[in-house]
């Protein structure tokens, strides 16, 4: 019985993550449309797209690696989700979060991108290759401030476990966004890069690269990638909520906090043009990195 409950918990987590993910993305599409003076699609449009894609038949393939790409992608998304505590406490939605720590999350999060890159590589489409080259380069940019922010938190709380970081932020005043605002700034700028929204969408640049790495993927491949994308978006938001906003005790609180965080890249994305790859990299290596270093110095000084 206990086992059954645990296993159903996994599926529930995935379901919640997927739903929240596609709703947030639909919300973004509406918001963007409104700003551009359009009506925009309904909020559940992404779900419709995914259902449509899953029901399509593909006639051709470019080899085994093309299949493995989306599988790698969903592996990374779900594994990331499984190792993040969704809620502060209680038995629900904890999944495997006691079994791994932040360093593990750091690496499993990039696993999907590398897998995607491999899948895209086999298709032979030059647009995909260009997109991969840009995407991987950009990772090297934003991971630096991200790790700086994480290090600041890990050092401050003397733990690499998300649970303990969450547990330490027991009041609003104890949230890391207030305790170490510099780390938050560095982390959130890195988060902008992770979302691949403008100004950091050069790897996918729709008008230029025909959407880049996923160019050759259609039907269920694309469906699986979009599913994975929704789950991953939720996982990342939850991670940031846990890190900086003290986590959430129930799903509603989580939704509010996540949406608040999500608005930051969305709004910045709407009002900014696109960076070139090297500009993006140099941007990440400059201000966010300096802020991240300051945040660590701040932590060292505070201890």
């Amino acid at each position: 019985m206990e086992t059954l409950k645990t296993i159903s918990g996994y599926f529930a987590t995935i379901g919640v993550a997927f739903t929240v993910g596609f709703l947030f993305m639909g919300f973004r599409r509406i918001l963007t449309a409104r700003v551009q003076n359009r009506v925009g699609p309904p909020i559940y449009q992404n779900l419709l797209d995914i259902i449509k894609l899953w029901s399509k038949e593909s006639a051709i393939n470019h080899g085994l690696m093309q299949h493995m790409g989306p599988a790698f992608s969903i592996t990374a998304s779900v594994t990331t989700l499984m190792f993040i505590p969704v809620l502060r406490d209680g038995n629900w939605f904890q999944n495997f979060s006691f079994e791994g720590d932040l360093i593990f999350l750091l690496y499993i999060m990039v696993f999907g991108q590398l897998g995607m890159a491999l899948g895209a590589g086999q298709t032979g489409n030059p647009n995909s290759a260009i997109g991969v080259s840009r995407g991987l380069s950009q990772i090297v940019g934003y991971e630096i401030p991200f790790v700086l922010a994480l290090t600041a938190l890990m050092v401050y709380h003397e733990t690499t476990s998300l649970h303990e970081i969450m547990a330490a932020q027991d009041s609003i005043g104890g949230w890391n966004i207030f305790v170490n605002p510099l780390a938050f700034v560095a982390g959130i700028i890195a988060f902008l890069g992770m979302t691949h929204y403008t100004p950091f969408d050069v790897p996918f640049a729709p008008a230029e690269l025909a959407s880049g790495p996923p160019s050759e993927f259609g039907g269920k491949y694309l469906g699986m990638m979009m599913t994975s994308g929704s789950i991953f978006a939720f996982a990342k938001l939850t991670l940031f909520v846990n890190l900086f906003l003290g986590g959430a005790s129930n799903l509603l609180e989580l939704l509010v906090k996540a949406l608040a965080l999500y608005l930051i890249p969305v709004i910045i994305g709407i009002v900014t043009p696109r960076f070139r790859t090297e500009q993006a990299i140099l941007f990440f290596w400059k201000w966010p990195t300096i802020i991240g270093i300051l945040s660590i110095l701040w932590v060292v000084w505070m201890r």
């Binding site: 079994e99 360093i103 489409n125």
Partner: protein, 615 residues
């Protein structure tokens, strides 16, 4: 002779080399059998190696051999890589010239590595060290052509290192009157601190050359690129680790008590960090597969030095774990690149492409290896990096974490370039007839090592057990709450459960893959890589659709300020200046008899003048 003794062990290792050389004149199968038997026998003998030490006198010095848990761990790495290396050589070297020399030098190199590890005194260590250097030099120049230059460069760097070591050894011998490492350590602490600093400094410098620590890494790209691929695997995987072995010995058996120990280790850790970052950037720039891997090796050795220099139990575990794992996955990569070279004759990333369907096993090998190299779970590479980052954070080296993480992330770039340029992308007509390499001699070594990366990723305890006893020997008591068979703990008590990790990853991946494979792929038909989305324009047969040249141009632009400077160029400049000085001095010898006569007269005058002045 006692067959569990070290003399017998070394006799087998060295004797096999000469026997194989002689057997070459009989038949090549006989030779191959002897070669394989020698390395397997020495690998097997490692398990039965007795504890007793063995001394002999040579040239007035007492040489002592014996095993320690620390050396046994490194010997394990050598054995683990030596067997696949010779196996891979059989087919790979069949086309090459002078096989007898190749196997002779290869086996001498392997035997010399064992010799280094089982030396309990500094002189026998140095002797085996030099034997290893010259035999590997001969292997490096085996191909001729550019390899000669690369080999000489390798030797000169090595010589600089080796003579730094010898310098210290002579002085230490003079101070302590004994060559035994433990005696040397005892009298070392009695010296004044500056002397200690100089001696340990030269020793560490010497060993770090072999490890390719910047700025003394200049030999590595050329030597790795030019040496025969199977040997390169051993070169990067095991031989360069002898430097790590030596550094660990100096830092923790000789130098530990010195007041300068901590600053020196801090400096080394930073040198390691900077090495890993800069070498990674260089690797991204390379267009030759072997050079790329060479720089990658330099970078990985940088991590190891970092872990070694920090000197916390966790960091030492990390250093030794990465030492093993790097050996394994780098050997896989060099094998795979060698396999591609064997079939296509190319290592140029701008020319190779689309081999995935022609050489699937090599592709799988590279895939496993790069996942390991990029430290991505669930393979073994991740365990090493996990230990390293935890130890960096917990020993308050926050900025080193960033440096290390930067190079680790940037390594995605070059590993992707490697696998993409060789195996992915457009399939080309010219590679249509390329076949996968033979199973027994070439695929098997690659797959066996791939299995090692997988197993160590889930059950690192298999490796951490010998590491623990090695570290206990070095004076780092490893408690049992730091690791278990598939569980890792950091110093703050956080844990990493690798079995949970592999279950989640495995389940999700298999589900996702099964869905796509059984419901999609089997019903679709394979089309060529020309049949792609190109906005309605149909590409012609000969149209080049590959994006591989200048693959990371944007990144290189961003990193230009760093990439435009070259440490190697500075060292080369020093070399050239010495050479030019030599050329200038040569003009002393004008070839004119009168000048020479003047030299004699002036010298005599000078002597007499000096003599009268002194009087």
């Amino acid at each position: 002779m006692d067959i569990t003794g070290i003399p017998f062990f070394l006799a087998v290792s060295f004797g096999g080399a000469f026997l194989a050389y002689l057997m070459n004149f009989a038949h090549r199968f006989l030779r191959n059998a002897v070669v394989l038997l020698t390395v397997s026998a020495s690998a097997a003998l490692l398990f039965w190696l007795g504890d007793e030490t063995f001394s002999m006198e040579m040239g007035g010095f007492v040489l002592t051999l014996g095993k320690t848990p620390y050396s046994l761990f490194f010997a394990g790495i050598v054995a683990l890589l030596a067997v696949p290396t010779v196996l891979f050589s059989f087919t790979y070297m069949a086309k090459e010239e002078r096989p007898a020399m190749y196997y002779l030098n290869l086996l001498i190199t392997i035997a010399a590595m064992y010799g280094i590890l089982f030396s309990l005194d500094l002189l026998s260590l140095f002797i085996f060290w030099e034997i290893m250097t010259w035999s590997s030099f001969l292997l490096t120049i085996h191909k001729g052509g550019n390899a000669t230059k690369a080999g000489v460069k390798y030797f000169l760097y090595s010589a600089a290192g080796a003579y730094a070591i010898l310098f210290s050894v002579v002085i230490l011998y003079n101070m302590s009157g004994s060559l035994l490492i433990e005696d040397v350590a005892r009298s070392f602490v009695l010296q004044n601190p500056l002397m200690q600093l100089m001696l340990a400094g030269t020793l560490l410098f010497g060993f770090s050359v072999k490890a390719g620590l910047m700025p003394m890494h200049g030999w590595a790209p050329d030597a790795y690129a030019e040496s025969p691929a199977p040997f390169t695997a051993l070169f990067s995987g095991a031989l360069s680790k002898m430097g790590i072995f030596g550094m660990g010995m100096v830092l923790y058996q000789i130098f530990l008590q010195s007041p300068f120990s901590l600053p020196v280790r801090e400096l080394l850790a930073w040198a390691g960090g900077i090495t890993s970052a800069l070498a990674t950037l260089r690797a991204i720039q390379q267009t030759d597969a072997k050079r790329l891997l060479a720089y990658s090796s330099v970078a990985q050795l940088g991590y190891i030095v970092m872990g070694l220099a920090l000197g916390t139990p966790l960091s030492m575990m990390a250093a030794l774990f990465i030492t093993l794992l790097h050996g394994v996955f780098k050997a896989m990569l060099f094998f795979a690149v060698g396999a591609v070279y064997f079939r296509t004759g190319l290592t140029d990333l701008n020319e190779l492409r689309g081999l995935i369907r022609r050489m699937p096993v090599s592709f799988l090998t590279v895939l496993m290896a790069i996942i390991s190299l990029a430290n991505i779970p669930p393979l073994g590479g991740f365990v090493g990096k996990w230990l390293l980052y935890e130890s960096l954070i917990q020993s308050d080296h926050y900025f080193l974490v960033i440096v290390a993480f930067f190079s680790s992330t940037a390594s995605f770039l070059y590993v992707y370039r490697l696998i993409f340029s060789i195996f992915l992308g457009q399939e080309e007509k010219e590679f249509e007839h390329v076949k996968e390499v033979p199973f027994l001699t070439m695929q098997l070594p690659m797959l066996a090592l791939a299995a090692v990366t997988f197993i160590t990723g889930i059950f690192p305890g298999i490796v951490l057990a010998p590491i623990s006893s090695a570290l206990t020997y070095l004076g780092f008591p490893i408690q049992h709450d730091m690791w278990s068979m598939s569980m890792l703990f950091n110093e703050w008590g956080n844990r990493m459960n690798l079995l949970a990790m592999i279950s989640v990853i495995g389940t999700v991946f298999l589900t996702g893959f099964t869905i796509l494979y059984f419901y999609r792929m089997r019903r679709t038909r394979y089309v060529t890589t020309k049949d792609i989305h190109t906005s309605g324009e149909v590409p012609t047969e000969n149209e080049n659709l590959t994006y591989a040249i200048n693959f990371y141009q944007p990144f290189e632009r961003a990193a230009h300020p760093v990439l435009s400077k070259s440490i190697r160029a500075w060292i080369d400049w020093i070399g050239r200046s010495v050479s030019e000085l030599g050329d200038f001095l040569r003009h002393i010898y004008t070839g004119d008899g009168q000048t020479y006569a003047w030299y004699v007269v002036l010298f005599l005058t000078f002597m007499l003048a000096a003599g009268s002045w002194i009087l």
